[in-house]
Amino acid sequence: MNVKSSQQRRAYQPWEDAEAKPFIEFRNVTKRYGAVTAVDNLSLSIYEREFFALLGPSGCGKTTLMRMLAGFEQITEGAVYLAGEDLSSTPPYQRPVNMMFQSYALFPHMNVEKNIAFGLKQEGMPKAEIADRVAEMLSLVKMQDFASRKPDQLSGGQRQRVALARSLAKQPKLLLLDEPLGALDRKLREETQFELVDLQESLGITFMIVTHDQEEAMTVADRIAVMEHGKIVQVDPPIQMYERPNNRYVADFLGNINLVEATIDKISNDQVTLATPSGNVLKVNHTGSGSTGDKVWMAARPEKLLIGLQKPGEENCLPGEVWDIAYLGDLTIYKVKLDSGDFAKVSVLNRTVAETRDITWEDQVWLSFEPDAALVLAS
């Protein structure tokens, strides 16, 4: 098995390489259920050894897209290619693809060992080899001591591990994970996310995960596709996705973002000057799209805003009143009512041990930001 070092991993960006051949390719894929279009003329390329996440709210078509790869959904129009081959006429049981189900779908009448061996037996692998592979899989997911237990004698986390081992046992070229951690509690989920990443790196298998949890997607994935209404809105690595969202939907779906309505006043090489209706001047180092006079949204993440009682300068300042304060321990979140009537959130890292903070309810405050801390999004 191919072990990538973390150095190699950082450089692994096949989507940047024009020469790289996609491992999975959706070409103009459409899926309709009667009058409902679940996937709408969608094209997408995924590369070998990538950890790819499909992210979106429920009903956005992400699960349908994944089930097409497994072969559980017939494609209405278009085609899916795996390693250059059209998958349309390959039944699920002949695809080099395995899936880990959201419900785990462990066979309740078989013990852990038999569950893991199921696919191998089906393949006709010799018994001795099956035993070796099962042992290998059990140690991979650290479940050696539970080989003879039945699924109903396992905890949720243990079941999740068995399901993972079973789906990896056949050494698929592509592993599909359908909300694999949805049933686990928060702590366990966070631990397992990192384990999944390590596992994927050490096995060198392409992973595709479906999730509605943006943190999960950002933790595990090399690239994320955000979906809405059967279409892909943006495909990018987590950093670009978070820092440079293409539009309001993505910006809002991944984390929190504050939006301020403004008009483009001037566009220079790398800076846009905006004017808010109440006359504040905002300078942003992100041209986005649009021309002078357009109405746009100035967008800034809560952690990129500064909050203070004094006006820090002439530009990039917005006055407001503290409406609400949420103390989260590591962060304090201020909800500020701007003079436009909109609310903005500012998160401040609590750097000192203090029982009271300077800023309190109903204070008149100033929000400010650096020109490279905000974005311009089309209206």
């Binding site: 559980f72 049981y93 395995n98």
Partner: protein, 303 residues
């Protein structure tokens, strides 16, 4: 004090089913057992000893001393009885298998039907119960007899040249049993199959099973509790079935229920027919008890 009363009340709810069993199963059964060790007599009631409750313990003892197992010996020695038992078991086994063969696909289809249809389909299975069992069996006479609907239909189709003799044969008995007991097979199977997680089949598919293989490796083993429950529900009443063989069966259809009836009403030999009933009960109960014990042990071994 209140607590004590409450705990008595709580326990009494557990005792209700036991009391029910005692009153409606054990007491009649003991009466039958007692009858089976009595002697037939031309009297009212037609057996001795009559056992009068008002005789008191000495009188009861006198009666008990008259008990004998001669009826059982008589049954063992006369080939009619064990032939009836064997024939009943054979017919019940074949009929149960046929019911399973028809009931399983039916239940499977129902469980996989669109959710909105399922209550209607279930209703259709239960619907025949709304008509008297006896009337439904009589209706089969009209269908199966020489000039009946089935023969007329087959003649009209041209499949057969002359009417078939179905009524008063074992085939008619099988048809009658399968028809009458099908719901008892379908309902437990449906309850089991409907609960099964469809994603298990997808998982089997995903791991290399064709749909057929997935059925035999996943659906079938998981449905075994339903299969066993359905088979018991059909098999047990079928062994002692009386109405269907006497209405649809021929003179050569030997079933213990009929033998018992004849013994009771034709020969007026209550003690022998009671002995027949006791042996029937043992034949049915012993295998079930053994089965349940082995099941219980298998479960213990797993844990």
């Amino acid at each position: 004090m209140k607590r004590v009363l409450q705990s008595i009340a709580a326990r009494s709810t557990i005792w209700v089913p036991y009391f029910w069993l005692l009153l409606l199963f054990l007491a009649p059964f003991l009466m039958v057992v007692k009858l089976s060790v009595s002697e037939p007599a031309i009297a009212q009631p037609p057996y001795l000893p009559a056992m009068d409750f008002w005789d008191g313990p000495p009188g009861w003892w006198e009666d008990i001393r008259q008990f004998s197992i001669s009826n059982y010996i008589f049954i063992m020695e006369d080939s009619l009885y064990w032939k009836s038992y064997l024939s009943s078991l054979r017919i019940a086994i074949i009929a149960t298998s046929l019911t399973l063969l028809i009931g399983y696909p039916l239940a499977y289809g129902m469980a996989r039907a669109p959710r909105a249809w399922r209550p209607t389909l279930l209703m259709l299975v239960i619907l025949p119960f709304w008509t008297s069992f006896l009337i439904r069996v009589y209706a089969w006479i009209g269908i199966l007899k020489k000039e009946g609907l089935l023969n007329q239909f087959l003649l009209w189709l041209g499949v057969i040249g002359e009417p078939l003799t179905i009524l008063n044969t074992n085939i008619a008995v099988y048809i009658g049993i399968v028809y009458s007991y099908l719901p008892f097979m379908v309902l437990p199977l449906y309850a089991n199959l409907e609960k099964q997680d469809v994603s298990l089949l997808e998982a089997a598919n995903d791991l290399g099973c064709t749909n057929r293989q997935a059925f035999w490796k996943v659906t079938w083993p998981l449905s075994l509790p339903g299969v066993i429950a359905g088979c018991f529900l059909v098999f047990i009443p079928t062994v002692g079935e009386f109405v269907i063989p006497s209405l649809l069966g021929g003179s050569d259809t030997l079933m213990i229920g009929r033998t018992l009836y004849d013994e009771f009403f034709q020969n007026r030999d209550w003690p022998v027919s009671s002995a027949v009933a006791v042996i029937l009960l043992l034949i049915l109960i012993v295998p079930i008890m053994l089965f349940q014990r082995s099941e219980g042990r298998a479960k213990e071994r797993e844990q």
